[in-house]
């Protein structure tokens, strides 16, 4: 069982970057009739999202967020001993984008750097790795970079996915400190549902062909190619509502906390319909469950830290108990409890 416990490790700083370009869901998607778009937006709650242009990649967003955080906090770059880059829209298939960022950020060559290929659960998984590194006495600081350009891999003509996703990056600085107290992580996987969210082509199982780029009509009037994400939304929804409330209760039990003792529950920002259902099933007060999908959509592994950095940014003048849960592509599910002890949170960066 992948249950991890840490003591005296935490997030000292957090930054977020998004593209300047805003896409308005009610009016900008010309592939759908306006009343159809209205109906979808009412259900999913995503009013707008940020979209990169062709030349902007995940690492560009991650680099901007990291530069701002390190600069604002006046961090000695030689003290960064590990960089973890979590993304499923990395700049290249080879090499790892994290290593490119190690160089661009001027981090020492003694810094470990690598990529993690996880989506909606990726912040919690990545944070568990960052905490693991940071417990080592020879590691001073760890950068956890979550960065996604999801709009590049979803068809805007697919009614199941064409209104949901946005682009963004966040950076967490992780280090040791008595103030952080105990934290608990629970990390699960269900590969039997791997095809629920999948880009079928472009790897080595199904290499790209001229045909794989052709747009095809899918059941339910959706259009996408095999180079774009196919999502079985019904299957994902069933997985989430069956597993996430139970998972959250399990982390509360591990952390020996009553539900009311947690200050904020920050969930992966899937969409309003799914997130509100999870909130109601857990009987959580609205005030304790911040959202950011209205303005940024579903940004995959970025969505949890992006919500903290934008929706509850000003609430950390005192230490706050946080429970996070990320769920989705894999399928993969990860939840954690930790204390955010007055971290430095930068203003949102727009590039």
């Amino acid at each position: 069982m992948a249950v991890l416990k840490f003591n005296g490790v935490g997030i000292s700083g957090l930054s977020a970057a998004v593209p300047k370009n805003i896409y308005h869901n009610r009016t900008d998607n010309k592939y759908f009739e306006s009343d159809d778009a209205e109906k979808i937006v009412e259900k999913i709650g995503v009013e707008e999202r940020r979209v990169t242009d062709r030349d902007m990649c995940s690492s560009d967003l991650g680099l901007a967020a990291a530069e701002r955080l390190l600069g604002d906090m006046n961090i000695d770059r030689s003290s960064i001993d590990a960089l973890i880059f979590v993304s499923q829209t990395a700049d290249y298939r080879i090499p790892a984008t994290g290593i490119i960022l190690q160089h661009k950020l001027g981090l020492p060559k003694t810094c470990a750097a690598f990529d993690v290929n996880l989506g909606c659960s990726g912040f919690v998984y990545g944070l568990s790795m960052a905490y693991s590194f940071a417990t080592q006495p020879t590691v001073d600081r760890v950068l956890l970079i979550n960065a996604e350009t999801r709009t590049k891999v979803y068809s805007f003509k697919d009614r199941k996915t064409g209104f949901l996703f946005g682009d963004a990056a966040t950076v967490c600085l992780v280090e040791r400190g008595e103030i952080y107290g105990e934290s608990y992580f629970k990390l699960d996987s269900d590969g039997s549902k791997a095809d629920y969210i999948m880009i079928k082509s472009g790897g080595y199982r199904n290499p790209c062909t001229s045909e794989s780029f052709l747009e095809k009509e899918q059941p339910g009037g959706c259009f996408h190619s095999d180079e774009q994400v196919h999502m079985d939304g019904e299957g994902v929804f069933e997985f989430v509502i069956t597993n996430v409330p139970r998972h959250v209760r399990e982390v509360l039990r591990l952390s020996q906390l009553e539900k009311e003792e947690v200050d904020y529950y920050v969930f992966h920002q899937a969409n309003r319909f799914m997130n509100e259902h999870v909130r109601k099933m857990l009987k959580l007060e609205k005030e304790k469950v911040p959202y950011s999908f209205e303005k940024f959509g579903n940004t995959s592994s970025v969505s949890i830290p992006l919500t903290i950095a934008t929706s509850v940014k000003d609430k950390f003048d005192i230490p706050r108990k946080i429970l996070v849960s990320g769920f989705g592509v894999g399928l993969s599910l990860a939840s954690a409890f930790f204390t955010l002890s007055t971290p430095h949170i930068t203003e949102l960066i727009e590039i």
């Binding site: 199941k160 019904e234 929804f237 069956t242 319909f273 109601k280 099933m281």
Partner: protein, 74 residues
């Protein structure tokens, strides 16, 4: 149970009262789509504390079938 399911469909699909009948094949409703499916599954979870597995739901054809299924799983 049958009345509860009828009301649930009227509520989720925003249909007028009395327009959902026991023998209706609900997938034939004009309002039925993937969002309606998710809404019905979510409402049943809220009201009955039970998530109907998709494989089971696919075998349910009418409103009456659904009520019977839920009764047998209470």
């Amino acid at each position: 149970m049958l009345n509860k399911i009828k009301e649930l469909f009227e509520d989720v699909l925003e249909r007028d009262s009395g327009t959902v009948n026991p023998d209706d094949k609900f997938r034939e409703y004009e309002e039925w789509d993937s969002l309606a499916y998710l809404s019905v599954i979510a409402k049943i979870d809220e009201d009955f504390g039970f998530v109907i597995p998709r494989d089971d739901f696919q075998k349910i054809i009418t409103i009456k079938d659904l009520a019977g299924y839920l009764e047998s799983h209470q």
